[in-house]
Amino acid sequence: MIPSQFDYVRVQSVDEAVAALTEHGEDAKVLAGGHSLLPIMKLRLAVPSVLIDISGIRDLSYVRVEGEEVAIGAGTRHHELERDAVAAAEVPILPYVASQVGDPQVRHRGTIGGTVAHSDPASDLPTALLALGGTVVVQGPGGRREIPITEFWLGFFETALQPDELIVEVRVPRTGSAGWAYEKFTRRANDWPIVAVAAVEGRVALANMAGSVVRATATEEALARGASIEEAAALADQGTSPGADMHADQEYRRHLARLLTRRALQRASGGAAAAA
Protein backbone atom coordinates (compact mmCIF):
# COMPACT_ATOMS: atom_id res chain seq x y z
CA MET A 1 0.00 0.00 0.00
CA ILE A 2 1.35 3.37 -1.02
CA PRO A 3 0.27 6.70 0.46
CA SER A 4 -1.23 9.42 -1.68
CA GLN A 5 1.22 12.04 -2.96
CA PHE A 6 2.41 14.75 -0.60
CA ASP A 7 5.13 17.34 -0.26
CA TYR A 8 7.78 16.67 2.34
CA VAL A 9 9.25 19.42 4.49
CA ARG A 10 12.03 18.79 6.98
CA VAL A 11 12.43 21.27 9.84
CA GLN A 12 15.27 21.74 12.32
CA SER A 13 13.53 23.73 15.07
CA VAL A 14 10.16 24.15 16.74
CA ASP A 15 9.88 27.66 15.29
CA GLU A 16 10.42 26.30 11.78
CA ALA A 17 7.80 23.63 12.41
CA VAL A 18 5.25 26.19 13.61
CA ALA A 19 6.03 28.43 10.61
CA ALA A 20 5.45 25.50 8.25
CA LEU A 21 2.21 24.58 10.04
CA THR A 22 1.06 28.19 9.82
CA GLU A 23 1.81 28.26 6.10
CA HIS A 24 0.13 24.96 5.23
CA GLY A 25 -2.66 24.87 7.84
CA GLU A 26 -5.03 21.94 7.89
CA ASP A 27 -3.50 20.38 4.78
CA ALA A 28 -0.34 19.59 6.73
CA LYS A 29 0.40 16.82 9.20
CA VAL A 30 3.39 16.56 11.51
CA LEU A 31 5.60 13.50 11.02
CA ALA A 32 7.70 12.30 13.97
CA GLY A 33 8.13 8.51 14.22
CA GLY A 34 5.32 8.04 11.74
CA HIS A 35 4.00 4.85 13.34
CA SER A 36 0.48 6.15 13.77
CA LEU A 37 0.40 8.49 10.78
CA LEU A 38 1.99 6.41 8.01
CA PRO A 39 -0.31 3.38 8.53
CA ILE A 40 -3.43 5.54 8.17
CA MET A 41 -1.88 7.33 5.20
CA LYS A 42 -1.23 3.97 3.53
CA LEU A 43 -4.90 3.13 4.07
CA ARG A 44 -5.73 6.63 2.74
CA LEU A 45 -7.70 7.39 5.88
CA ALA A 46 -5.42 10.42 6.09
CA VAL A 47 -4.45 12.27 2.93
CA PRO A 48 -2.34 15.27 3.97
CA SER A 49 -0.83 17.30 1.16
CA VAL A 50 2.22 18.26 3.22
CA LEU A 51 4.21 16.29 5.80
CA ILE A 52 6.37 18.29 8.18
CA ASP A 53 9.12 16.02 9.52
CA ILE A 54 10.13 17.13 13.03
CA SER A 55 12.40 14.17 13.78
CA GLY A 56 15.46 16.32 13.08
CA ILE A 57 14.66 18.67 15.97
CA ARG A 58 17.31 17.50 18.39
CA ASP A 59 16.17 19.16 21.62
CA LEU A 60 12.70 17.55 21.68
CA SER A 61 13.92 14.31 23.23
CA TYR A 62 14.42 14.41 27.02
CA VAL A 63 13.02 13.36 30.38
CA ARG A 64 13.80 15.69 33.28
CA VAL A 65 12.52 16.71 36.69
CA GLU A 66 11.21 20.27 36.93
CA GLY A 67 9.91 21.06 40.42
CA GLU A 68 7.10 18.68 41.26
CA GLU A 69 6.70 17.58 37.67
CA VAL A 70 8.47 15.42 35.15
CA ALA A 71 8.83 17.06 31.74
CA ILE A 72 9.04 14.75 28.72
CA GLY A 73 10.05 16.10 25.32
CA ALA A 74 7.49 15.36 22.61
CA GLY A 75 10.10 13.69 20.43
CA THR A 76 11.05 11.13 23.10
CA ARG A 77 10.73 7.72 21.53
CA HIS A 78 9.00 4.88 23.37
CA HIS A 79 12.19 2.83 23.67
CA GLU A 80 13.95 5.82 25.22
CA LEU A 81 11.18 6.34 27.78
CA GLU A 82 11.12 2.59 28.43
CA ARG A 83 14.66 2.64 29.79
CA ASP A 84 14.92 6.18 31.15
CA ALA A 85 16.32 6.25 34.69
CA VAL A 86 14.65 9.55 35.64
CA ALA A 87 11.25 8.29 34.51
CA ALA A 88 11.78 4.99 36.34
CA ALA A 89 12.43 6.80 39.62
CA GLU A 90 9.91 9.63 39.33
CA VAL A 91 6.97 8.31 37.35
CA PRO A 92 7.50 4.55 37.00
CA ILE A 93 4.18 3.81 35.30
CA LEU A 94 5.43 5.52 32.14
CA PRO A 95 8.48 3.35 31.36
CA TYR A 96 6.39 0.24 32.00
CA VAL A 97 3.55 1.38 29.76
CA ALA A 98 6.03 2.49 27.09
CA SER A 99 7.35 -1.10 27.12
CA GLN A 100 3.83 -2.34 26.38
CA VAL A 101 3.42 -0.34 23.16
CA GLY A 102 3.45 -2.43 19.98
CA ASP A 103 6.73 -4.29 19.59
CA PRO A 104 10.44 -3.33 19.73
CA GLN A 105 10.52 -2.07 16.14
CA VAL A 106 7.50 0.16 16.77
CA ARG A 107 9.01 1.44 20.02
CA HIS A 108 12.22 2.33 18.20
CA ARG A 109 10.26 4.82 16.08
CA GLY A 110 7.12 5.96 17.90
CA THR A 111 7.18 9.12 20.03
CA ILE A 112 5.15 10.28 23.01
CA GLY A 113 4.13 13.45 21.19
CA GLY A 114 2.93 11.39 18.26
CA THR A 115 0.76 9.07 20.30
CA VAL A 116 -0.69 12.04 22.22
CA ALA A 117 -1.47 13.91 18.98
CA HIS A 118 -3.01 10.86 17.31
CA SER A 119 -5.80 10.42 19.89
CA ASP A 120 -6.50 6.76 19.34
CA PRO A 121 -8.74 5.61 22.22
CA ALA A 122 -6.82 2.31 22.34
CA SER A 123 -3.38 3.87 22.88
CA ASP A 124 -1.29 2.77 25.83
CA LEU A 125 0.62 5.90 26.82
CA PRO A 126 -2.34 8.31 26.63
CA THR A 127 -4.22 6.01 29.03
CA ALA A 128 -1.36 6.23 31.53
CA LEU A 129 -1.02 9.99 31.01
CA LEU A 130 -4.73 10.51 31.64
CA ALA A 131 -4.47 8.60 34.93
CA LEU A 132 -1.42 10.67 35.90
CA GLY A 133 -2.96 14.03 35.01
CA GLY A 134 -0.71 16.89 33.97
CA THR A 135 -0.49 19.04 30.89
CA VAL A 136 0.34 18.99 27.21
CA VAL A 137 2.57 21.93 26.23
CA VAL A 138 1.96 23.13 22.70
CA GLN A 139 3.52 25.89 20.64
CA GLY A 140 1.74 27.93 18.00
CA PRO A 141 2.37 31.21 16.20
CA GLY A 142 1.33 33.10 19.36
CA GLY A 143 3.73 31.23 21.62
CA ARG A 144 3.30 28.39 24.08
CA ARG A 145 0.22 27.31 25.98
CA GLU A 146 -0.54 24.46 28.33
CA ILE A 147 -3.57 22.26 27.85
CA PRO A 148 -4.69 20.10 30.80
CA ILE A 149 -4.43 16.44 29.81
CA THR A 150 -8.03 15.92 30.95
CA GLU A 151 -9.13 18.41 28.27
CA PHE A 152 -6.80 17.33 25.48
CA TRP A 153 -8.52 14.31 23.89
CA LEU A 154 -11.90 15.23 22.45
CA GLY A 155 -12.75 12.06 20.55
CA PHE A 156 -11.55 9.56 17.98
CA PHE A 157 -8.51 11.14 16.23
CA GLU A 158 -9.67 14.50 17.64
CA THR A 159 -7.77 16.74 20.06
CA ALA A 160 -7.69 20.29 21.43
CA LEU A 161 -4.61 20.96 19.29
CA GLN A 162 -5.05 23.72 16.69
CA PRO A 163 -3.85 23.09 13.12
CA ASP A 164 -0.97 25.55 13.54
CA GLU A 165 0.22 24.15 16.87
CA LEU A 166 2.92 21.59 17.66
CA ILE A 167 3.11 19.46 20.80
CA VAL A 168 6.51 20.19 22.35
CA GLU A 169 6.28 18.60 25.80
CA VAL A 170 4.17 16.51 28.16
CA ARG A 171 4.29 17.32 31.88
CA VAL A 172 3.11 14.90 34.55
CA PRO A 173 3.25 14.96 38.35
CA ARG A 174 6.07 13.05 40.04
CA THR A 175 4.52 10.00 41.67
CA GLY A 176 7.68 8.45 43.11
CA SER A 177 6.92 5.30 45.06
CA ALA A 178 3.12 5.67 44.96
CA GLY A 179 1.30 2.56 43.79
CA TRP A 180 0.40 2.22 40.14
CA ALA A 181 -0.74 -0.41 37.70
CA TYR A 182 -1.45 -0.91 34.01
CA GLU A 183 -3.65 -3.81 33.03
CA LYS A 184 -3.83 -4.43 29.30
CA PHE A 185 -5.95 -7.11 27.70
CA THR A 186 -4.99 -8.23 24.20
CA ARG A 187 -5.47 -11.31 22.06
CA ARG A 188 -1.99 -11.14 20.53
CA ALA A 189 1.28 -9.92 22.00
CA ASN A 190 1.80 -6.79 19.93
CA ASP A 191 -1.81 -5.65 19.63
CA TRP A 192 -3.60 -2.59 20.83
CA PRO A 193 -5.60 -3.29 23.97
CA ILE A 194 -9.15 -4.57 23.62
CA VAL A 195 -9.50 -2.75 26.95
CA ALA A 196 -6.77 -1.40 29.22
CA VAL A 197 -6.81 0.28 32.62
CA ALA A 198 -4.22 2.57 34.18
CA ALA A 199 -4.40 3.34 37.90
CA VAL A 200 -2.29 5.82 39.86
CA GLU A 201 -3.11 7.21 43.32
CA GLY A 202 -6.86 6.69 43.09
CA ARG A 203 -7.12 7.96 39.53
CA VAL A 204 -8.25 5.45 36.93
CA ALA A 205 -8.18 5.78 33.13
CA LEU A 206 -9.62 3.43 30.53
CA ALA A 207 -8.49 2.61 26.99
CA ASN A 208 -10.96 1.66 24.28
CA MET A 209 -14.09 2.34 26.32
CA ALA A 210 -15.19 5.47 24.41
CA GLY A 211 -14.21 7.65 21.46
CA SER A 212 -11.11 8.72 23.35
CA VAL A 213 -9.29 7.52 26.44
CA VAL A 214 -11.51 8.35 29.47
CA ARG A 215 -11.37 8.49 33.24
CA ALA A 216 -13.48 6.04 35.23
CA THR A 217 -15.08 8.86 37.20
CA ALA A 218 -17.66 6.74 39.04
CA THR A 219 -14.86 4.48 40.29
CA GLU A 220 -12.74 7.44 41.35
CA GLU A 221 -15.65 9.02 43.24
CA ALA A 222 -16.39 5.76 45.00
CA LEU A 223 -12.76 5.39 46.05
CA ALA A 224 -12.74 8.99 47.30
CA ARG A 225 -15.69 8.30 49.59
CA GLY A 226 -14.01 5.20 50.99
CA ALA A 227 -15.62 2.40 48.99
CA SER A 228 -13.78 -0.91 48.75
CA ILE A 229 -11.81 -1.78 45.62
CA GLU A 230 -14.46 -4.34 44.67
CA GLU A 231 -17.30 -1.81 45.01
CA ALA A 232 -15.43 0.92 43.17
CA ALA A 233 -14.28 -1.34 40.33
CA ALA A 234 -17.84 -2.54 39.75
CA LEU A 235 -18.64 1.03 38.62
CA ALA A 236 -15.73 1.32 36.15
CA ASP A 237 -17.84 1.14 32.98
CA GLN A 238 -20.39 3.72 34.14
CA GLY A 239 -20.63 6.61 31.72
CA THR A 240 -18.52 4.88 29.07
CA SER A 241 -19.62 4.14 25.52
CA PRO A 242 -17.49 1.27 24.22
CA GLY A 243 -17.70 0.20 20.61
CA ALA A 244 -18.16 -3.31 19.26
CA ASP A 245 -15.82 -4.96 16.78
CA MET A 246 -14.55 -8.39 15.83
CA HIS A 247 -12.60 -8.65 19.09
CA ALA A 248 -15.33 -7.83 21.60
CA ASP A 249 -18.91 -6.65 21.90
CA GLN A 250 -19.93 -3.79 24.16
CA GLU A 251 -20.98 -5.91 27.11
CA TYR A 252 -17.70 -7.85 27.04
CA ARG A 253 -15.74 -4.60 27.01
CA ARG A 254 -17.77 -3.37 29.99
CA HIS A 255 -16.98 -6.63 31.80
CA LEU A 256 -13.28 -6.22 30.99
CA ALA A 257 -13.28 -2.62 32.24
CA ARG A 258 -14.70 -3.69 35.60
CA LEU A 259 -12.43 -6.72 35.91
CA LEU A 260 -9.23 -4.97 34.84
CA THR A 261 -10.01 -1.99 37.07
CA ARG A 262 -10.31 -4.32 40.05
CA ARG A 263 -6.99 -5.95 39.20
CA ALA A 264 -5.32 -2.59 38.60
CA LEU A 265 -6.53 -1.14 41.89
CA GLN A 266 -5.46 -4.25 43.78
CA ARG A 267 -2.04 -4.15 42.21
CA ALA A 268 -1.67 -0.41 42.74
CA SER A 269 -2.67 -0.72 46.41
CA GLY A 270 0.11 -3.24 46.89
CA GLY A 271 2.65 -0.42 46.56
CA ALA A 272 5.03 0.25 43.74
CA ALA A 273 5.14 -3.39 42.67
CA ALA A 274 6.05 -3.82 39.06
CA ALA A 275 3.33 -5.21 36.87
CA ALA A 276 3.94 -8.76 35.76
Binding site: F6, D7, R10, L31, P104, Q105
Partner: protein
Protein backbone atom coordinates in the same frame (compact mmCIF):
# COMPACT_ATOMS: atom_id res chain seq x y z
CA UNK B 1 13.51 14.63 -3.52
CA UNK B 2 17.18 13.67 -3.22
CA UNK B 3 18.17 11.19 -0.54
CA UNK B 4 21.58 9.88 0.36
CA UNK B 5 21.33 6.57 2.17
CA UNK B 6 24.09 4.17 3.12
CA UNK B 7 22.91 0.60 2.69
CA UNK B 8 25.23 -2.20 3.79
CA UNK B 9 28.15 0.22 3.65
CA UNK B 10 27.38 1.56 0.18
CA UNK B 11 26.32 5.18 0.09
CA UNK B 12 24.23 6.30 -2.85
CA UNK B 13 22.22 9.35 -3.78
CA UNK B 14 18.87 8.81 -5.46
CA UNK B 15 15.97 10.93 -6.53
CA UNK B 16 12.83 9.54 -4.85
CA UNK B 17 9.20 10.49 -4.35
CA UNK B 18 8.52 11.50 -0.73
CA UNK B 19 5.89 8.77 -0.47
CA UNK B 20 8.33 5.98 -1.37
CA UNK B 21 8.53 3.52 1.51
CA UNK B 22 11.96 2.40 2.71
CA UNK B 23 11.00 -1.22 1.97
CA UNK B 24 10.28 -0.32 -1.67
CA UNK B 25 13.43 1.81 -1.87
CA UNK B 26 15.54 -1.15 -0.72
CA UNK B 27 13.87 -3.64 -3.04
CA UNK B 28 13.25 -1.57 -6.15
CA UNK B 29 15.78 1.26 -6.12
CA UNK B 30 18.68 -0.60 -4.52
CA UNK B 31 17.73 -4.03 -5.86
CA UNK B 32 18.06 -5.68 -2.46
CA UNK B 33 15.18 -8.13 -2.37
CA UNK B 34 15.98 -10.09 0.80
CA UNK B 35 13.78 -7.62 2.69
CA UNK B 36 10.30 -9.07 2.26
CA UNK B 37 7.02 -7.21 2.47
CA UNK B 38 4.48 -9.37 4.24
CA UNK B 39 1.52 -7.65 5.85
CA UNK B 40 2.41 -4.07 4.86
CA UNK B 41 0.70 -2.91 8.09
CA UNK B 42 3.56 -2.82 10.68
CA UNK B 43 2.46 -6.15 12.10
CA UNK B 44 4.45 -9.06 10.67
CA UNK B 45 8.05 -7.80 10.78
CA UNK B 46 9.13 -9.48 7.51
CA UNK B 47 10.47 -6.11 6.33
CA UNK B 48 12.63 -5.53 9.44
CA UNK B 49 16.00 -3.85 8.77
CA UNK B 50 18.48 -2.07 11.03
CA UNK B 51 18.54 1.73 10.75
CA UNK B 52 21.27 3.51 12.71
CA UNK B 53 21.62 0.54 15.03
CA UNK B 54 17.93 -0.05 15.75
CA UNK B 55 15.52 -2.56 14.22
CA UNK B 56 12.64 -0.96 12.32
CA UNK B 57 9.86 -2.12 10.02
CA UNK B 58 10.76 -0.66 6.65
CA UNK B 59 7.15 -0.74 5.40
CA UNK B 60 6.40 2.01 7.92
CA UNK B 61 9.36 4.29 7.27
CA UNK B 62 9.64 6.63 4.31
CA UNK B 63 12.86 6.55 2.34
CA UNK B 64 13.15 10.30 2.93
CA UNK B 65 13.13 9.63 6.69
CA UNK B 66 16.24 7.49 6.21
CA UNK B 67 18.13 10.27 4.42
CA UNK B 68 21.64 10.29 5.87
CA UNK B 69 21.09 7.04 7.76
CA UNK B 70 23.06 3.79 7.87
CA UNK B 71 20.80 0.90 6.87
CA UNK B 72 21.67 -2.77 7.15
CA UNK B 73 19.64 -5.43 5.36
CA UNK B 74 20.04 -9.18 5.42
CA UNK B 75 22.39 -8.92 2.43
CA UNK B 76 24.77 -6.87 4.58
CA UNK B 77 25.23 -9.41 7.34
CA UNK B 78 27.54 -11.96 5.77
CA UNK B 79 31.19 -11.11 5.35
CA UNK B 80 32.70 -10.20 1.95
CA UNK B 81 33.96 -13.77 1.64
CA UNK B 82 30.46 -15.11 2.23
CA UNK B 83 31.10 -16.06 5.82
CA UNK B 84 27.76 -16.11 7.56
CA UNK B 85 26.94 -13.77 10.44
CA UNK B 86 26.58 -15.63 13.77
CA UNK B 87 22.79 -15.20 13.70
CA UNK B 88 22.55 -16.53 10.14
CA UNK B 89 24.74 -19.47 11.09
CA UNK B 90 22.62 -20.24 14.14
CA UNK B 91 19.38 -20.09 12.11
CA UNK B 92 20.89 -22.63 9.72
CA UNK B 93 22.28 -24.91 12.42
CA UNK B 94 19.12 -24.87 14.53
CA UNK B 95 16.83 -24.98 11.50
CA UNK B 96 15.21 -21.69 12.54
CA UNK B 97 12.99 -21.54 9.48
CA UNK B 98 10.42 -23.48 7.55
CA UNK B 99 9.16 -21.68 4.44
CA UNK B 100 11.71 -18.91 4.97
CA UNK B 101 9.54 -15.90 4.19
CA UNK B 102 9.79 -14.39 7.68
CA UNK B 103 13.47 -15.30 7.99
CA UNK B 104 15.17 -12.10 6.75
CA UNK B 105 13.07 -9.99 9.13
CA UNK B 106 13.43 -12.51 11.91
CA UNK B 107 17.24 -12.53 11.55
CA UNK B 108 17.44 -8.72 11.49
CA UNK B 109 15.15 -8.43 14.52
CA UNK B 110 17.30 -11.03 16.29
CA UNK B 111 20.48 -9.05 15.57
CA UNK B 112 18.77 -5.97 17.00
CA UNK B 113 17.61 -7.93 20.03
CA UNK B 114 21.11 -9.31 20.71
CA UNK B 115 22.64 -5.83 20.36
CA UNK B 116 20.34 -4.75 23.17
CA UNK B 117 20.48 -7.92 25.26
CA UNK B 118 23.53 -10.11 24.48
CA UNK B 119 22.33 -13.14 26.44
CA UNK B 120 18.52 -13.28 26.49
CA UNK B 121 16.44 -15.95 28.19
CA UNK B 122 13.83 -17.89 26.21
CA UNK B 123 11.16 -15.50 27.44
CA UNK B 124 13.23 -12.45 26.54
CA UNK B 125 13.76 -13.83 23.03
CA UNK B 126 10.04 -14.42 22.62
CA UNK B 127 9.21 -10.95 23.88
CA UNK B 128 12.01 -9.38 21.85
CA UNK B 129 10.68 -11.00 18.67
CA UNK B 130 7.02 -10.21 19.38
CA UNK B 131 6.99 -7.95 16.33
CA UNK B 132 7.88 -10.78 13.96
CA UNK B 133 5.36 -13.38 12.87
CA UNK B 134 6.19 -16.83 11.51
CA UNK B 135 3.05 -18.23 9.92
CA UNK B 136 4.61 -21.66 9.72
CA UNK B 137 4.64 -21.27 13.54
CA UNK B 138 8.25 -22.39 13.69
CA UNK B 139 8.96 -20.34 16.78
CA UNK B 140 10.65 -23.00 18.88
CA UNK B 141 13.63 -23.38 16.57
CA UNK B 142 13.83 -19.63 16.04
CA UNK B 143 14.14 -19.08 19.79
CA UNK B 144 16.72 -21.86 19.94
CA UNK B 145 18.67 -20.24 17.10
CA UNK B 146 18.75 -16.83 18.77
CA UNK B 147 19.94 -18.31 22.05
CA UNK B 148 22.54 -20.32 20.21
CA UNK B 149 23.72 -17.21 18.35
CA UNK B 150 24.15 -15.44 21.68
CA UNK B 151 26.83 -18.02 22.53
CA UNK B 152 28.94 -16.56 19.71
CA UNK B 153 29.47 -13.48 21.88
CA UNK B 154 28.99 -9.80 21.08
CA UNK B 155 29.43 -10.35 17.32
CA UNK B 156 25.90 -11.77 17.22
CA UNK B 157 24.48 -8.35 18.00
CA UNK B 158 26.68 -6.42 15.61
CA UNK B 159 26.32 -5.51 11.99
CA UNK B 160 29.52 -5.64 9.93
CA UNK B 161 31.63 -2.52 10.02
CA UNK B 162 30.61 0.06 7.50
CA UNK B 163 32.84 -0.14 4.46
CA UNK B 164 34.74 2.75 2.97
CA UNK B 165 32.39 5.21 1.38
CA UNK B 166 33.21 6.07 -2.19
CA UNK B 167 34.07 9.69 -2.71
Amino acid sequence: MQVSITVNGQQRTDEVEPRLLLAHYLREVRGLTATNIGCDTTSCGACTVIVDGLSVKSCTVLAVQADGAQVTTLEGLAGPDGELHPVQRAFREEHGLQCGFCTPGMVMAAVGLLADNPDPSDREVREGLEGNLCRCTGYHNIVRAVRSAAQAGPAAGQVPQVQEVEA
